[in-house]
Amino acid sequence: MRQSAVYEQPRARVMTRVKRVLLFALLWWLLTEGRAEAWGMGAVLVVAAALLSVSLAPPVAWSLPGALRFVPYFIWRSLVGGVDVARRALSPARPLQPAVIEYPLRLALPRSRLFMAGVISLLPGTLCTEIVDDKLWVHLLDRRGDFQRDLGILEQKVAGLFRDENRPEEG
Amino acid sequence: MTLVYLGGALFLLLTLVAGLWRVLRGPTAADRMLAAQLFGTTAVACLLLLAEADRAPALRDVALVFALLAVVAVVTFVRRNWRAAGEDLDAD
């Protein structure tokens, strides 16, 4: 799925379909919880769904090292976010200092922008309310904290995941 | 462990009932829709626990359908209702 630029080449096309079939076979295995007798029906459906999916959802460029960097970061930060908001909800004082900030996006691809807007809602203290041109409107639970920097780190990881052209500079 | 699963499911159901208060109180249509989202997640967790407690793997499929359809109502709300819905409800 990485070589979306050379998608027209016959070899890449075959590889795309093989990967899709494997992906849908995995899904079928999970859905049937590994029951062997389900594979008769499954074989037909998996191939049909895989071929159909190639035209409905063309392959997207992503990078495995980018994903390996993104997933642990995401899990850790969403855990921190959950603990943070749970603490605020459970404490009698209900400490909140909401604010709305604008964050200028450097990501170029629509899918990575949308992905980022979604992921923001799971990270500590941030919630994306609107994407206007090149800006994200972010609602903050607590305005204390360097959110421009945190969002910059997230943006870099998202860019790495989707091999976004418009990568922000390191550091 | 069955006891724990059943107790957990009961607890989750209680939090779901508490969430109903938000549907009744509003005040905006968005608040009510948000409560519907809360019910979806809670019901999924509840079903997964019951699947273990009752030894009924089919319940995991029900949970899967819940997870898939949780978003349908919200998307409809956003696409169709966002102007109309508030008029009668933001007021009362």
């Binding site: 919880e33 909800a89 | 997640t41 956003v78």
Partner: protein, 97 residues
């Protein structure tokens, strides 16, 4: 025995997050802060419950299915969260200060 204990611990932690999510939805002052509470706390809660059940799962496929359910809820709730927040903003709901 050890695994049962770990499962129990994860389950209780998950319940606390669900309780916190619901409390947040009931106590927080406006729709945006409520969305914060709901989305973050409930997803962590569901993740912990899924982890607890995965430890007890009879087969790897079941573990995968549990994770699949969690991922679907994750996608669904971030999407809903963003859409509801956007709707509220476009309807002119001003954030609580």
């Amino acid at each position: 025995m050890l695994i049962d204990g770990l499962s129990l611990l994860l389950l209780i932690a998950g319940m606390i997050f669900f309780l916190a999510g619901t409390l947040g939805v009931l106590r927080f002052p406006d729709v945006y802060t409520r969305l914060h509470a709901l989305t973050k706390a409930d997803n962590v809660g569901l993740g912990l419950i899924v982890a607890a059940l995965a430890l007890q799962a009879p087969a790897w496929a079941v573990v995968g299915k549990l994770i699949l359910v969690w991922l679907l809820v994750l996608v669904a709730s971030t999407l809903s969260c963003h859409l509801v927040a956007r709707t509220a903003q476009r309807r002119g709901v001003t954030p609580w200060q």
